[in-house]
C-alpha cells in the first residue's frame, strides 16, 4: 500500500535518501562508555513520509542479505517494527516541528528521535514476547539496551533536524 503512494518520478529521490540513511546508520555514536549505531526511523519518517516504508524494507533487505543481520524470515516483522514508529513520528510530531524554530525545533527533533527508538524497542519486545512467553526476560534485556540508543538518537536527530530547518527547510516539508 505504501509502495503505491510512491510515484515512479520520486523513486530516484527516495532511493538516494534511503541510501543516505543506510550510510548514516553505519556511523557509530559514542554514548558513555559504549557506542551505538542509529536507527534514524524518526528522521526517516519526517523526511520521507510514506516512502519511509519501502525505504526501510529495502535497507533491511540489504542488511539481511549482505551483512547477515536480522534475517529474511523476520523481514516483515522488522519492517513493521521500524516503519510504524517512523510513520507515527511523521504524523504526530511533523506538524509541530515544521512550525517551530530555534530551540523548539531542536526539542521537537529530539522528541521524534526518542519516540522512534522507544516505539521500536517496545514493538521488538512485544513481538519477542508474543512469539513465546519464554522470550520475555530476553525481551526485557533488549529493551534495556535501547536506553543508550535513545539518548544518542534523540541528540543527533534533534541537531540534524534543527540544522535542516535552517539550511534546507524544503527537505522536511517535502511531503506537502
Amino acid at each position: 500500500m505504501a509502495i503505491r503512494r510512491l510515484d515512479f518520478d520520486r523513486i530516484p529521490q527516495a532511493a538516494v535518501l534511503s541510501a543516505a540513511f543506510f550510510i548514516a546508520s553505519l556511523v557509530s555514536v559514542p554514548v558513555g562508555p559504549s557506542s551505538v549505531h542509529l536507527i534514524l526511523n524518526g528522521l526517516m519518517g519526517l523526511i520521507l513520509g510514506w516512502a519511509a516504508v519501502p525505504a526501510i524494507l529495502v535497507a533491511l533487505l540489504m542488511q539481511a542479505v549482505f551483512f547477515g543481520y536480522g534475517g529474511l524470515l523476520v523481514l516483515g516483522v522488522n519492517t513493521l517494527n521500524i516503519a510504524l514508529p517512523a510513520l507515527l513520528c511523521a504524523g504526530l510530531l511533523g506538524p509541530a516541528l515544521r512550525r517551530s524554530s530555534g530551540r523548539a525545533s531542536l526539542a521537537w527533533g529530539a522528541a521524534s528521535g526518542a519516540l522512534g527508538v522507544v516505539l521500536t524497542g517496545t514493538l521488538v519486545s512485544l513481538s519477542l514476547g508474543l512469539s513465546s512467553s519464554d522470550y520475555l526476560p530476553a525481551a526485557k534485556v533488549v529493551l534495556a539496551t535501547y536506553a543508550p540508543l535513545m539518548v544518542a538518537e534523540a541528540a543527533v536527530t534533534g541537531f540534524t533536524l534543527a540544522f535542516l530547518l535552517k539550511v534546507a527547510p524544503e527537505l522536511i516539508t517535502l511531503q506537502e
Binding site: I3, R4, L6, F8, D9, I11, P12, Q13, A14, A15, V16, L17, S18, A19, A20, I23, A24, V27, V29, P30, G32, P33, L40, L43, I47, P54, A55, L57, V58, A59, L61, M62, A64, V65, F66, F67, G68, Y69, G71, L72, L73, D134, Y135, P137, A138, V141, V142, A152, A155, V156, T157, G158, F159, T160, L161, F163, L164, V167, A168, L171
Partner: protein, 253 residues
Amino acid sequence: MMQLTLGQENAQGGWLSQFDPRLRLIAALLFALAVVSLQRLPLLLTALLLALLLAWRVGLSGPLLRKRLLAMEGFMIVLLVMLPFSVPGESWLTLGPFSASFEGLQRALEIVLRANAVVILLMALIGTLEPVVLGHALGQLRLPQKLIHLFLFTVRYIGVLFDEYQTLRLAMRARAFVAGSNRHTWRSLGWLLGMLLVRSLERSRRILAAMKCRGFSGRFYLVNPNVWRHRDTLGLFAAGGIAAILLLLEQTL
C-alpha cells in the same frame, strides 16, 4: 567504494554461479523455512554443517564469515544466558534463588544453532550475489516493480554517498574532530547527517534531471541474461529434496 558483497573475485567463476540467481533465492528460502521448523538438536546440527559446507564450497573465507556472524551473536548470548533460567524444568545449575533448567538450555541451544544455520546459508547463497543481479532476480520473481526500482537505485547510490560521507568525515578529521560522549560530538554528527541529506537531495535532483534527459518515462527496463535451464530445475529438486528429508526426519524420529 564500499564492499557490499561477500564474494571474493576468485569466487565469481565458482560452481554456484553456473545456476540461475532465482534458483539460489528459492533454495535459500526453502532451506530457511525448513530449518526454522526443525526442533531436534542433531538435525539442527546437520543443517548447520550443511550450511558451513556450502559456505566453504562457494569460497567464503573463515575470518570474513566470523566477522559477519559476530554482529549477530550479541543477542544470541543474551538468549543463551536468560533462557535456561526462564524456562521451567529439571534443575541443572543453581545460582542463589535462580535455577537453570535443562529444557531451557536445550531451547537456547536450539535457537542458536537454528539462527546460525540460516544466516550462514543466506550469506553463502545470496550474500555472494552481485546486488544488481539480486535485484534483477527479485524482479523476475514478480516482486513489485517499484520496490525493485527502489532497490536497484539504492544499491547504485550507496557507494556514491559513502564516498561523500568519507569526504565529510575527512574534513572533520582535518579539523581535529574526535568523537566522544558529549554535546559537541552529537551536534557535529547531527550536522554531518544533515549535510549528507542535503547533498543527497541535491544529487537526486540532478539524477532525475539527467534521467529525464535520456527519456526516462518512469520505467526501467531490466535487461537480464538469466535464463532458467534444466540444470536449475535439477538444482531446485535437489534443494527441495534435502529440505524435505530434513523435515521428514524431524517428523519420524
